[in-house]
């Protein structure tokens, strides 16, 4: 490890991992103290995470240390932080993950300024953000960095329980079930790391390679939570605050994609010894199909959104199973569109949930007549997860389906039918939202909320019409990951 030695500098130094983690933890502590002043804490958190996202995206690791004259400190971008034998460092492959995580958190904080997602949302999210940043910056340790990730994901899922439940007197199935995949898989990864160490001593041992491949394949598939381990996604979407659901789902799945990339890069023999692609394809087909079927019958807006996201996630799992490096570009493209669609839907859904008193059917009926922009945002975002034309997800789904169909057209046909199920579910929801208004006491939507929903719709429509807007960032991210 070519780690920068801070002792060579005369002035006090701060390594970048320490700055990021320490700063986020400190901010979490402060915001927790002032958590009742939600407007203030979310604003501050949004500004800081937004600035961090921009700064990290434009960070040049080869540049000289950054002098902080105000604090009389020097930030060393390549500096290391070592604790418990684990070494953290900001490396090029971590930057896109860090920047994306910060950007997602920033957007979530901005949306939370208007509609509260719970007093503890900001501090706990900052802690989670620090945890995911730690995962991205982890470079080495007594256990290989990718193989310790599931254990850390268990801890992060445990912390996420609090903001998913958010003190609501609702079912706790979703937060509870979100724990299960990571808990089930981390022992497999630990045992695999032990065998991987043995494999380093005898790299041609086929038995060791088989064991490592089997353990990691099973672990990856379970971590992806396909059907029948999928229930957390729909349950969380039904009961948890929508913006929290969106943020935690995307952060977890981003970390998971990063983990898979690192595992497949570190152990390239896995696809050769174990039919990983076959397993991922089957898991993806089942997930996409069940997501579509369940969405067609879902009546709860949150659950419908969750099943639509499950369907989209199934397609993404399928793309992971297609051999070849070029598919990672499609995977990242689809994930970016997925993030946009979920974000747009979350904007609308949070406003609808707020106005309809947690999706009370009486208040939900005809709410689109009083909240047209937010209802439209929810519908467009949800349809984007199904790849509906003129929505953000259309191009991603189209490219994904073409890629899948090039291997087996029947699988693509199954996904198409499942997408139709999602569309049916949202059409029924549109009839409810824009049907006869029952609660005439319902107020018109807030102008700021309508503006946010309009921005979400605008972004979705822009990406639907010009998907090449994402080409540059995705290629940069892919280039950074491959370093």
């Amino acid at each position: 490890m070519n780690c920068f030695d801070p002792a060579t500098l005369n002035s006090p130094n701060i390594s970048l991992p320490l700055l990021i983690l320490g700063g986020l933890f400190l901010l979490a502590l402060i915001t927790y103290i002032f958590r009742s002043w939600e407007w203030l804490t979310t604003s501050v958190a949004a500004v800081i995470t937004g600035w961090l996202a921009l700064w990290l995206w434009n960070l040049d690791l080869s540049a000289a240390p950054i002098q902080l004259s105000l604090l009389n400190r020097v930030i060393v971008p390549t500096g290391c932080l070592e604790r418990l034998g684990f070494m953290l460092q900001v490396h090029p492959a971590a930057i896109p993950v860090l920047a994306t995580s910060m950007a997602l958190a920033c957007i979530a904080f901005v949306l939370t300024i208007r509609i509260s997602q719970g007093h503890s949302f900001v501090p706990f999210t900052l802690i989670l953000l620090a945890g995911y940043a730690l995962l991205a910056m982890l470079v080495s340790g007594p256990v290989a960095a990718p193989l310790i990730t599931p254990l850390l994901l268990v801890g992060l899922s445990s912390i996420g329980i609090y903001i998913l439940q958010a003190g609501r007197a609702t079912r706790s199935d979703g937060p509870l079930r979100s724990l299960i995949p990571a808990v089930l898989t981390f022992p497999l990864f630990l045992i695999a790391s032990w065998y991987a160490d043995r494999l380093a001593l005898s790299p041609r041992d086929p038995e060791l390679m088989n064991i490592v491949s089997l353990l990691l394949t099973v672990g990856i598939i379970v971590l992806l939570a396909p059907v029948p381990l999928h229930s957390a996604m729909a349950d969380v979407a039904e009961t948890a605050p929508p913006i929290v659901t969106m943020l935690l789902t995307l952060l977890y799945q981003l970390a998971l994609l990063h983990l898979i990339y690192r595992v497949l890069t570190a152990y390239p023999f896995i696809p050769r010894t174990i039919p990983l692609e076959f397993g991922l394809t089957i898991a993806g087909v089942l997930t996409a199909a069940w997501g579509g079927i369940a969405a067609a019958g879902a009546e709860h807006p949150g659950r419908l959104w969750g099943y639509a996201a499950l369907h989209d996630w199934g397609l993404l799992i399928m793309l992971l199973g297609i051999p070849g490096n070029t598919n990672w570009q499609i995977v990242l493209f689809l994930f970016a569109l997925r993030a946009i669609s979920m974000l747009t839907a979350a904007i609308g859904l949070s406003a609808i949930e707020h106005a309809s008193r947690t999706f009370d059917s009486e208040w939900l009926q005809g709410i689109g007549k009083r909240m047209p922009w937010n209802s439209a945002a929810f519908l467009i975002g949800g349809l984007g997860l199904a790849g509906f034309p003129l929505s953000a997800g259309f191009t991603g789904h189209w490219v994904g389906l073409m890629t899948v169909a090039s291997n087996d057209w029947r699988i693509a046909a199954v996904v198409m039918v499942a997408s139709a199920g999602v569309v049916i579910g949202f059409i029924r929801m549109a009839r409810t939202l824009y049907g006869p208004l029952i609660q005439t006491r319902l107020l018109n939507e807030n102008p700021v909320g309508a503006l946010l929903a309009f921005v979400g719709i605008l972004i979705s429509a822009s990406l639907a019409l010009s998907p090449q807007l994402l080409t540059g960032p995705i290629e940069s991210a892919l280039l950074a990951l491959s370093r």
């Binding site: 034998g85 254990l151 268990v154 445990s158 007197a169 609702t170 706790s172 299960i180």
Partner: protein
């Protein structure tokens, strides 16, 4: 190893504290009954014995092969138990226990295979986080149990929850603190005139306080018991003290003739003009009855707080069973007699036991150490019954 035991003990303590703090309520996610669980364990054990998995776990060379084999079997057994618990249950408690069980072999492996690596510390931290998260969900589950939808195909046997959810009068104890709805105001004079006796000072903890049996039922039974005792005591030998009390009660409730059947019973249907009480047809003169009817019929729930508040003036003024010697409103005992004829609807509580009080049951529950059965006043029987009902219920922890 001691550290691991301490961590698991701490996790268990965390879960136990949450269970202790959460009000006892039947969870909707029951993982079957004990017989079902036992059968499942027997099935799994038989499967383990019948099938040779030929599965080996990695162990360091320092551990002997026989010990490694035993540990392998033990860990597989623990893991299967954890998976069974996960599969059969959906409650935070069982899921938390299952996840912790699943972590135990991993913790041991991390200690054995990766000594002094820090992984063992991380697993310990993660176990604590899991326990904390599940304990938090245990607390929130107790608040949300009434709002859960019933899933007919749920494998977790939602029998208790279904029974509770189908009856709106079944309110979990934990929700009582959130239902602090003011009851219809009661004045000490009104109740004294109605009952002539005191109520218990406080409602014991754990009492299920539903709408009817707290606001309406006690008062109905009080008056019913009073009227019933008049009829029962007419020809019996009584002690001087009890006779005095009963006479006072009779004077209070039915000044006309306590030894006969009540002539006004069938004439005092609320809101109906009657021969015996023609003034009731006059709205201007029927206010006491209407007011009485209002608070007797009210279905507002009475919480512990409100019950105490309502009882306090009564206990202050009627602590020694003093009967108000002033002439009571004539409509009150008549109304009381009317309600004696009307059978009260049984009100199931949370655990399905009825709080309906019938005459036979009340007569059979008289206090032997103070009075004979025939000497019982209605209220004492009522209290005995209420205490019996309350002792039947699990106490709020």
């Amino acid at each position: 190893m001691i550290v691991q035991v301490c961590i698991i003990a701490l996790c268990t303590l965390i879960l136990a504290i949450s269970i202790a703090q959460a009000p006892r309520s039947p969870t909707i996610s029951q993982s079957g009954n004990w017989i079902m669980r036992l059968l499942m364990l027997i099935l799994v054990y038989t499967a383990l014995r019948l099938f040779d998995f030929n599965f080996s776990l990695p162990f360091p060379n320092a551990i002997e092969a026989s010990d490694a084999l035993r540990m392998t079997v033990f860990f597989i057994w623990i893991s299967i138990c954890a998976l069974l618990t996960l599969g059969l249950s959906n409650s935070p408690l069982f899921t938390g226990v299952a996840l912790l069980l699943w972590c135990v072999p991993a913790h041991v492996f991390a200690t054995l295979l990766l000594p002094e690596s820090g992984v063992s510390v991380l697993i310990g931290i993660v176990e604590l986080l899991i326990a904390l998260g599940c304990s938090y969900l245990i607390l929130t589950e107790s608040l949300s149990i009434k709002q859960r939808p019933i899933v007919s195909t749920d494998i977790t046997f939602p029998v208790e929850g279904r029974r509770m959810l189908t009856d709106r009068s079944m309110v979990p104890i934990g929700e009582m603190t959130t239902m602090d709805i003011p009851t219809v105001p009661l004045t000490a004079e009104a109740r004294q005139a109605m009952t002539g006796v005191t109520l218990p000072q406080t409602a014991p903890r754990g009492t299920i306080l539903s709408d009817t049996n707290l606001t309406d039922e006690p008062l109905r039974i009080n008056r019913a018991q009073a009227a019933q005792s008049r009829a029962a005591q007419s020809g019996a030998k009584q002690s001087q003290k009890n006779q005095s009390q009963i006479n006072q009660m009779q004077a209070n409730l039915s000044p006309s003739d306590s030894s006969q059947s009540h002539p006004r019973r069938e004439t005092l249907t609320p809101g109906t003009p009657t021969q015996a009480n023609p003034t009731q047809a006059d709205p201007t003169q029927a206010d006491p009855t209407q007011n009485n009817q209002k608070w007797v019929r009210s279905g507002s729930p009475l919480t512990r707080t409100n019950l105490k508040a309502a009882q306090k003036p009564l206990t202050d003024s009627l602590s020694s069973r003093q009967v108000n010697q002033s002439l009571p409103d004539q409509s009150l005992p008549n109304q009381l007699a009317e309600e004696l004829q009307e059978p009260t609807q049984p009100t199931p509580n949370l655990f399905g036991t009825s709080t309906h009080l019938d005459k036979d049951y009340i007569n059979s529950k008289a206090e032997p150490q103070q009075k004979s059965k025939k000497e019982k006043t209605g209220l004492s029987r009522l209290f005995n019954r209420r205490q019996k009902d309350e002792t039947d219920l699990p106490k709020d922890r």
